[in-house]
Amino acid sequence: MSMPNNIAPEDLALFAMQLLSKEEAAEVAAYLERSEEARRELARIQGDLAVYAHTVDLHSPPAQVRERLMKQVAREKKPVPIERPAPVETPKRAAPMHGGANVAASTVAAHDEPEPLIGRTSRLIDDEPPKRSAAGRVFPWVGWAVAAGLAVAGGNLYRQRDSLVQERDNLHATVADQATKLDQMTADTAAARQVLETLTDTTAKRVMLTKGKTAPVPQGRATYVADKGALIFTANNLDPLPPLKTYELWLIPAAAGGAPIPAGTFRPDERGNASVILPTLPKGVEAKAFGVTIEDKDGAATPTLPIILVGA
């Protein structure tokens, strides 16, 4: 391949964007090998492209992508590296001075390098073992092979055990976390149930505190969260009703012209107490006021005058 003396910056930009043909790209790559200035310019262009990439209209990825990634990350859990002090080695001979990986490589090479042939030969002559039969030569190696096999199998078992222990610990942690959450939810549910039972218990003593001695008057208290369409209504000192009649609670919307929305029927107990807990209501309806009327026993779609209780 011919080596060009120069590459136009325009081509470097195309190279950075992977828009050159294979031949053109190879030519530029070869030039980059030789020219430090070209490499610097290419890095500058990549920086420019990084800035340009950030001009894109931003969109958030769907939430489940994060979940999917983290699951994959968990599946490909990495073994935590154990830091050990570097072994002290006594090189057989001084390694030549190179940088970084070369030093390590040369050190390894020095260890792996075979001894000089002359020394090896003389030792063979001096320490030559007595000649043995084929079986005699093979059997000692069988022992070593079995030992090596057992060592490998043992290593594998040890790694599997570590992995299982790690998995077990993770499961324990997850179970403990879930148990804590469950306990919390159980406690919350019990508290909520107790509130409801107290509010709706017909045997509960309900006392209305008033200033001085005044005759008890019918009263109601509505607690309403428009966003959730949640309403809790309690009433005291209500007059008893004829058998075929019922009280009905109404939500009067804040929106102009909004028709009253029926929010539940109720009959007071013998002490004049009653409640309506979480009737079915549309969400997001702002209330201007609440009212109570007397209706036929099945309730009505529109309120019947007079309004017995009203509050805004």
């Binding site: 992977q18 950030h54 990825p61």
Partner: protein, 188 residues
């Protein structure tokens, strides 16, 4: 380069945060991984979506790019520039590969960025984005369109020349000029 923006020289603390997070990722820290995802997934996904115009394919690229970090955090070293910039470029290149339905054409390790923006800091990242968008918007429309076709659509200069009817040299010059304008805007 880019010295006047205050985004170079000694790495700002949040930039070091990226390096610190990568060290943790190297040790298998999943929380560090999720932090990096929360920080840069929007840009990576948006670039991929712009190139591929298909949410499902963009999600695949997003997953692939971040799994690359998890599997081989060494593929990015701080000396190569900002992690955010690197991710944006890698996302674009992976998306172009997907568009061409071919295997990745280059190792991500090969990309070095001369810039060192502090993209780990959201405020600075947003500021840089705004400035870059303004610069691009002010480019002559031919330059802007040509760069867009090359970078986001992955069209070669020959394809662009064929589509626009402009000479090859003009296409190359427009791309180069647009990038130089962008560079100068962050230099002065």
């Amino acid at each position: 380069m880019y010295r006047e923006t205050g985004l170079v020289n000694s790495p700002p603390p949040s930039s070091q945060d990226d390096a610190g997070l990568l060290v943790l990722v190297q040790r298998g820290d999943e929380f560090a991984m999720s932090t990096l995802f929360d920080r840069y997934s929007k840009v990576v996904y948006s670039v991929a979506l712009r190139v591929l115009r298909d949410p499902a394919s963009a999600e695949d690229v997003l997953q692939e790019v971040f799994m690359q970090i998890w599997r081989n955090p060494d593929s990015f070293v701080a000396a190569r520039g900002s992690l955010g910039g690197w991710l944006a470029v890698v996302s674009r290149n992976r998306s172009i590969d997907a568009l061409r339905r071919q295997r990745p054409t280059e190792s991500v390790e090969d990309i070095a960025l001369a810039s060192n923006y502090n993209l780990a800091d959201e405020a600075e990242r947003n500021s840089m984005m705004d400035k870059a968008r303004t610069v691009i918007h002010l480019l002559p429309v031919e330059q802007r369109k040509t760069l867009e076709m090359a970078f986001f659509d992955g069209l070669t200069h020959s394809e662009i020349a064929e589509m626009t009817g402009d000479p090859l040299g003009t296409v190359k010059t427009r791309i180069r000029s647009a990038l130089m304008t962008l560079r100068k805007a962050f230099t002065v």
